[in-house]
């Protein structure tokens, strides 16, 4: 009975979404305040209904109600509680329900906290949100009902794919979806602005916090996915240019561009049309990511035909929203007035370059991901596009951007002065070059990318420090007044500095693991050891293993650095019930300078075990960098000037201060 209740709530939510789509739109068109206000209630009601539905499905998972087909197919009574909960979104139907839940949360947030928005704009934004919600709710109700019953109910469930039973992956989808769906708000604002024919600084100020929130969630979501791939898949890799990864990386690239161009709209009232287009593109790429991952089209165009109903449905949603919004853009964008002239060398000019390079980098990923599909569709030859392609196209496009990142914040608005930038940055550049030369000297036979990459990473970090130093007048004014200036800095400024510095750390990690990874593939008997970088790893023992829903073998390894014992690592081979699927658990020693990574393989013919061991230098800088970028975003978000609902007050406060 409870499951039917959830299904019913979902159907009601579909009806409410239809209302939320049409009524506020008509109200805004007619200027009818009463109609517009009902949109707010509709958004809140929709959130409540979808939340009920989601809680019901979660309940079915927690109590292992196998009469619900979705629970039977994806859960098992012996699974730990956390994976019962994460199992809710570890499958197609449940993940779509999570998608609409997050959409409704964003919609509810606009409805409840958007009091400072003009009512018309708020109504139109809610209406667009309603339209997106309607499309996806129809998709769920008509093709992917998570509450389908089984009769008679089975005794036990099939279990969740064991490689998905992992803490980082349990919370990877909610973060990623919070990012994907967060971009729907920027999209809704863009479409509403096109309907109204007006984009101004206030509009940009309202859009920015939402975009920033979406960007933060994407950043942390992608980082979690990559972290999971690193220690769970057992290949020692952290990014594979897999289509599924690319599907989340493209919205990240475009939303990064959007974040920067919205600054120009807010501060200088320029790049308005472009920013609206970016908002549309960012969400379009999110939708496309959902389509690519959910339709099965990635394995092959033919896999799409295995389940054409769902794939076709998402494809129609995709065409309606992307095509519709782009058509609206083509029609209305010429009415938006361009404003704010600027010289090529200026903060605006730098941000234009940032946008150009980010978008072209995204295009390279887009083409590489979809080209094989396109060729196959047109009966061309079957080709593969893998990491070597992306390294050769994405790499050269993104590199000039990385070089320019530290320069941007030093350029003045309207007309920049390169000489002034040089005066403030030459020390950072000099130190970065020296670091590059040291790397070159130590690593004279190594690839040319090593010194260049490390110098670039140092340049990014030092540039961020120089930015901070210049803003607080470090060593130019007494330390106490530097501190005073620091506490007076807007949080968004510190956020930007953190994000740029975090990017530098991430680049350092990427370069280090790509170029200096030590890999040892060796067969060991117990008691034998192998050298991995500066460490010696000894295979101590092997014991049988049994967990709540798996059995297997555990190998113990002693890690020594010279004569000093560091730690004992355990690497496991697990066989999961009921699928019998084998997984490996990596033995991992994490340090800031690098990881020792041990994977135990199969028995070889002479009674030894095949081992795969890595020393991964600086690898944790990748996720540390991503986390710092996330923190930078979070700090900016708490800036009172961008806090949702705060703009008006902030403007008047500034006006008072200026007097």
């Amino acid at each position: 009975m409870i499951a039917e209740f959830g299904h019913f709530a979902l159907i009601l939510a579909t009806g409410v979404a239809l209302y939320q789509f049409l009524v506020p739109l008509v109200g805004a068109h007619r200027g009818d305040t009463a109609l517009m206000r009902t949109g707010i209630s509709a958004a809140v009601l929709q959130l409540a209904l979808i939340a009920v539905s989601f809680v019901v499905l979660t309940h079915a998972y927690i109590v292992s109600d196998f009469s619900v087909q979705n629970v039977y197919e994806n859960s098992h009574s012996a699974k730990p509680l956390i994976y019962k909960i994460s199992g809710v979104w570890g499958n197609h139907e449940g993940s779509m329900l999570l998608w609409v839940l997050i959409l409704a949360i964003y919609g509810g947030a606009v409805a409840l906290f958007g009091r400072n928005l003009p009512l018309e704009l708020r109504s139109r934004v809610l209406a667009i949100q309603g339209a997106i919600g309607l499309a996806f709710l129809l998709f769920i109700v008509l093709t992917s009902n998570p509450f389908q019953r089984l009769d008679p109910p089975p005794i036990e469930g099939n279990g969740l794919n064991p490689i998905l039973q992992d803490p980082a992956l349990a919370f990877h989808p909610p973060f990623l979806y919070a990012g994907y769906v967060g971009l729907s708000i920027a999209f809704a604002f863009a479409v509403a602005a096109l309907i109204e024919g007006r984009v101004d600084a206030a509009w940009a100020r309202w859009v920015r916090p939402w975009t920033l929130a979406a960007w933060m969630f994407l950043t942390i979501g992608i980082a979690m996915g990559s972290w999971w791939a690193y220690y769970e898949l057992g290949w020692g890799g952290w990014w594979f240019w897999d289509p599924v990864e690319n599907a989340s990386f493209m919205p990240w690239l475009v939303s990064t561009a959007l974040l920067h161009s919205a600054i120009v709209v807010e501060k200088r009232n320029a790049l308005k049309i472009w920013t609206v287009l970016l908002s549309i593109l960012a969400f379009s790429l999110s939708l496309m990511g959902t389509f690519l991952v959910r339709s099965g089209v990635l394995t092959s165009v033919h896999a799409f035909a295995v389940d054409p109903e769902r794939g076709l449905f998402i494809l129609i949603i995709l065409c309606l929203f992307i095509g519709g919004s782009l058509a609206l853009f083509a029609w209305r964008a010429p009415m938006l007035k361009a404003g704010g002239l600027f010289a090529p060398v200026s903060r605006e000019g730098g941000l234009v370059l940032n946008n150009l390079l980010l978008c072209v980098a995204c295009l390279a990923v887009f083409i590489g991901t979809l080209y094989p599909l396109a060729l196959e569709t047109f009966d061309g030859p079957k080709i593969s596009v893998g990491p070597p392609f992306f390294n050769l196209t994405f790499g050269p496009i993104i590199m000039p951007l990385l070089l320019l990142v530290p320069v941007g914040p030093f350029l003045a608005w309207k007309r920049g002065d390169m000489a002034a930038v040089w005066r403030r940055l030459w020390k950072s550049l000099a130190v970065a070059v020296v670091i590059g030369l040291i790397v070159l000297a130590v690593n004279i036979r190594g690839p040319w990318l090593a010194p260049v990459g490390m110098a670039m990473a140092a340049w990014l970090v030092l540039g961020a420090i120089a930015d901070l130093a210049a803003r607080i007048g470090l060593f130019k004014v007494p330390l106490s007044s530097s501190w005073h200036r620091f506490t007076g800095l807007p949080r968004s400024a510190i956020g930007g500095i953190l994000a740029h510095g975090g990017l530098g750390l991430m680049i350092a990690g990427i370069i280090a693991i790509s170029l200096w990874k030590v890999e040892v593939i060796v067969a060991l008997k117990t008691g034998e050891s192998a050298d991995v970088g500066a460490y010696t790893v000894t295979f101590l023992s092997e014991t049988p293993l049994s967990g709540p829903n798996y059995t297997g073998r555990a190998g113990r390894f002693l890690v020594k650095e010279g004569d000093r014992e560091i730690t004992t690592l355990v690497s496991e081979k697990r066989n999961f019930q009921p699928s019998g699927m084998p997984t490996t658990e990596v033995g991992l020693l994490q340090t800031l300078l690098g990881d020792v990574y041990v994977v135990m393989g199969d028995e070889t013919t002479d009674g030894a075990r095949a081992m795969r061991m890595y020393y991964n230098p600086l690898v944790n800088f990748i996720w540390l960098g991503a986390f710092i970028m996330f923190c930078g975003g979070l700090l900016s978000l708490t800036d009172r000037r961008y806090r949702v609902g705060a703009p008006k007050r902030a403007i008047s406060a500034q006006a008072v201060a200026a007097e």
């Binding site: 090529p344 596009v385 893998g386 196209t393 067969a523 070889t604």
Partner: protein, 148 residues
């Protein structure tokens, strides 16, 4: 969809165990290094998106062994790649060759970059004006007075 999930599970099943094994390695480190480089550019034909280096599928192992045999026989990298492509088709290459059918793949990002940069530059030239006239000395003095 269920079929797709099953296929996916099967592929992960193959991938999650073990790829390159110790007994496959060549004695000569230089040759082995070349083998790894070549492997990283070849796709495992039965996997979704893995190089043969990362894959545990028997077919990937055959291909790894094949490459090493050819290397020991003294073939060049290019000869080996040609041999593999002749046998398995272009699909096996993770870096597609530049040909008629892939010209858009390789060209589009750089072409768009060039066109967009050119368009920005031309628009700037055509508008032809510096965004604003600099202040005259008199205006500058007035401004400084106002700021004091």
């Amino acid at each position: 969809m269920r079929k797709f999930a099953a296929v996916l599970a099967l592929m992960f099943n193959l991938g999650s165990a073990f790829a390159l094994t110790p007994d496959e390695l060549l004695k000569d480190p230089a040759l082995e290094h070349r083998a790894r480089e070549l492997s990283a550019h070849l796709r495992c034909l039965v996997c979704q998106n893995q190089s043969i280096d990362d894959s545990d599928a028997p077919l990937a192992k055959d291909l790894r062994t094949l490459i090493r045999e050819q290397l020991v026989a003294g073939k060049t990298d290019a000869e080996i790649m040609d041999f593999v492509v002749a046998r398995y088709g272009e699909f096996v290459l993770l870096k597609p060759r530049l040909e008629g059918s892939t010209i858009l793949l390789w060209g589009t990002p750089f072409a768009v970059l060039a066109i967009a940069a050119a368009a920005l530059f031309l628009r700037r030239r055509r508008s032809g004006v510096s965004p604003e006239q600099p202040l005259t000395p008199a205006e500058r003095q007035a401004l400084e007075r106002a700021l004091e």
